[in-house]
């Protein structure tokens, strides 16, 4: 017998089952909050394991991906099969397998059970949704069912906790034993690959007929009525739009308050540290590097939590499948899955939750294609940049009727992102991610009330993963970027500033009524960033960005904004001596940008430069948090690096085309 009875670890129990069968709810009930989330080595599939006290036995429960079959060759199915066979490093073969079976859908769910027997692991069948099956007028005779399957069958209800003792007893009784194989194998199974499938279904039909009584009531009556509206030709579309709008509205506006609070919180922590710590490099690192860098990312937490609240509810209620059903035709046109819609829409708020939301897409290639184009959706971090550029150069233009040029500009930036995303998806699906399209067979589960516990745990899990994984990478990059802008540091301070009088004159010229001391401080900040490594880099890349119409000062801002797009605003403020706390609507910053001069005295910015910069920001991958999240979600550095590379190339080409094209047309 192959048991893993080591002291302290107990037995290993794998949890298998179809998607939507209630596997996650059962897992959460068995393990509570004591579970860990990880990735199977080298793939995007996640595994979760946790501890369960199964009667007197200590068990480790491993949650396998939700699957319909063990042999069709998707990543999920391969992983599940490998885990059950013990072929995954660090994961011993399970001593018992609990198969979660949805009682309202016995035939299809039992198919996986018949396949699992072939792996030779002892099996316990856990029947979920018993109350729903009984409401449909079905009575399942578990004793008979168990007799046919030659394995224990237990009715469980994870929301009330009933049946858990029986489940523990059944697991203990079979753990480590050799199961019997109940399905008759047809004679032609060797020659005809499909004969085994037919044999399994014939076996199941017989088993169900013998162990289920009083069927016949239409189990789909309620769901069909709801579907009559929700996937209706007209109402379905209207409701879908309303749902997306509600999600959008919430993550955009209602998240603003907690985000503001977080931002203020980090601001005051920074302020407190500033006064508490002795002035110097360490204080600067803590406040300007770590608190500011990590804080600028953690403020997205409310958006992520809220988005996952919606995603969990939409998924668990069964509506997500309907949304994908309605939109599949549109998404399929560019080679994406219907389920790609919500992640892409979410990415208009922030690509991070959007990319995390792609996990609802089962096929890996479809999922990666969606991840790769998500950052083209104009996220909220681009808004300050658009606002600044439009405010500085396009606000004064006359409006056509009630539409201002600024609004048209803004809209065209959003549209540019969408169009490029479509083209890129189309190209990726025909090149890098080329594969025979996976058959599109999506279950439309009956509508169900989402389990609050599962929803809450999902939110906590996603939020924590974001804080933990993204946080570590972001912390490191924040420190590096801070150091680049900080070193080399001259001890002489203001004395190094080449021409304080000129700086003062410039400041006065743009109408800033700041005090003399403030001017000196700002002068110092500008001077130190110019002489820093970031400044040197800005000068070093000038030949490269010159064809885009950007001078080296804009170059510094570009480099800094590779950490996060909105950093452009604060960096420009520092470079143009307006003070780091100016925002995108600050008049002094707008004036400073309009009046900024190149080293040769010509204006640094023209409307064309501003437009080019916006195009660059639509297309470029300037968000370290997104890179960190893509790394986590794809479980490799390959995809995030590819993303940075192709988006940077695209941004450069797009900006070059805009600037040089614009000049040919006589703008700028």
């Amino acid at each position: 017998m192959n048991t893993n009875m080591e002291p302290g670890r107990g037995i290993i129990v794998a949890l298998a089952g179809n998607p939507n069968a209630g596997k996650t709810t059962l897992f959460n009930h068995l393990t509570g909050l004591r579970h860990k989330v990880g990735n199977y080595p080298g793939v995007t599939v996640e595994w979760r394991r946790g501890r369960w006290r199964a009667g007197s036995t200590e068990a480790q429960v491993v949650d396998l991906p939700g699957i319909y079959s063990l042999e069709a060759g998707s990543v999920d199915e391969t992983i599940a099969t490998d885990a059950l066979k013990g072929n995954i490093g660090g994961l011993p073969p399970p001593d018992a397998v609990i198969v979660v079976v949805d009682s309202t859908n016995l035939e299809r769910n039992l198919y996986l059970v018949t396949q699992l027997f072939e792996l030779g692991r002892p099996i316990v069948v856990a029947l979920t949704m018993i109350d729903l099956a009984e409401a449909n007028g079905e009575t399942i005779d578990t004793v008979r069912l168990s007799g046919f399957l030659k394995a224990p069958v237990v009715k469980v209800n994870a929301s009330t906790g009933s049946g858990m003792e029986d489940l523990a007893a059944a697991v203990n009784s079979v753990a480590g034993s050799n199961p019997s194989f109940p399905v008759p194998v047809p004679e032609n199974a060797e020659s005809n690959g499909n004969a085994l499938i037919f044999a399994r279904y014939r076996f199941i039909a017989n088993v169900v007929q013998e162990s289920v009584r009083e069927r016949g009531r239409d189990a789909h009556a309620v769901s069909d009525k709801i579907d009559g509206v929700l996937t209706h030709r007209v109402f379905g579309l209207i409701i879908l739009l309303a749902v997306l709008l509600a999600v959008f509205q919430t993550i955009f506006s209602f998240a603003a308050l907690p985000m503001d609070l977080l931002e203020k919180g980090f601001g005051s922590i920074g302020g407190l540290l500033r006064t508490a710590l002795p002035e110097g490099m360490f204080a600067d690192l803590m406040v300007d590097g770590i608190i500011a860098g990590v804080g600028s990312v953690l403020i997205f937490l409310p958006q992520i939590a809220l988005l996952f609240l919606f995603i969990s509810i939409l998924e668990d209620s069964g509506y997500m499948a309907r949304a994908a059903f309605i939109l599949d035709k549109l998404m399929g046109g560019v080679g994406l899955h219907g389920k790609a819609f919500l992640p892409l829409i979410s990415s208009f708020a922030c690509a991070i939750p959007g990319i995390m939301a792609t996990r609802t897409i089962e096929d890996t290639r479809d999922r990666i294609a969606t991840i790769m184009i998500a950052p083209f959706m104009s996220c909220s971090a681009r808004l300050p940049v658009y606002t600044l550029m439009i405010g500085a150069f396009f606000a004064a233009y006359p409006a056509f009727g009630f539409i201002s040029v600024g609004a048209v500009m803004m809209l065209s930036m959003y549209l540019l992102g969408i169009v490029v995303a479509i083209v890129v998806a189309f190209v990726l699906k025909r090149t890098v991610l080329k594969a025979p399209p996976p058959p599109f067979i999506m279950e439309m589960p009956p509508y169900r009330m989402p389990d609050p516990r599962t929803v809450i745990q999902n939110i906590i899990e996603r939020s924590w993963l974001f804080v933990k994984r993204a946080g570590t990478v972001i912390l490191a990059i924040s420190i590096v970027l801070w150091a680049l802008a900080y070193f080399p540091r001259s001890e002489a301070g203001p004395a190094r500033y080449s021409d304080p009088a000129a700086a003062a004159k410039e400041t006065t010229a743009i109408g800033d009524a700041a005090s003399a001391t403030l001017q000196t401080e700002k002068g110092e900040a500008a001077s130190s960033i110019e002489n820093s490594y970031a400044g040197m880099l800005g000068r070093a890349i000038e030949p490269v960005i010159e064809p885009l119409g950007f001078d080296w000062k804009i170059g510094i801002a570009l480099i800094a904004s590779f950490a996060a797009r909105e950093v452009l605003v604060s960096t420009l403020s520092i470079i143009y001596n307006v003070g780091g706390d100016a925002d995108e609507s600050s008049e002094s910053l707008l004036a400073a940008i309009r009046n900024a001069k190149r080293d040769d005295g010509s204006p640094a910015w023209t409307p064309l430069t501003a437009f080019t910069l916006m195009v660059f920001f639509v297309l470029a991958m300037q968000c370290m948090s997104t890179v960190a999240v893509v790394r986590r979600e794809t479980n490799s550095w390959r995809w995030p690096l590819f993303m940075v590379a192709y988006m940077t190339l695209l941004a450069y080409a797009g900006a070059l085309l805009t600037y040089q094209g614009g000049r040919l047309l006589g703008f700028g």
Binding site: Y201, A205, H232, G338, P436
Partner: protein, 99 residues
Amino acid sequence: MTEEHGLENKEIHQEQRAISLSSMKPGQKGTVAGVKESGGVSRRLLEMGIVPGVAIKFVKTAPFGDPCEVRVLDCNLAIRKREAELIEVFLEELPIAFS
């Protein structure tokens, strides 16, 4: 039960001409006659329970014309036209009652 699965009734329909699932109309019912081979697709369909002899109902088409929704083994599945064309169905002879 037998009526619903129809696994044993397969022969009864044998003389009928099978049509493609993609040409069925909303509300129409029938019995799966077979799934045409096309790479790994047919196997996937079979594994989801679309095996010969099983009762199938064409529920509806999505608002933009694709995919379609069918009911097999008490379960609603969305299938794209491309896959639906592989599934052959013996239509139920009785006039269709739209529900």
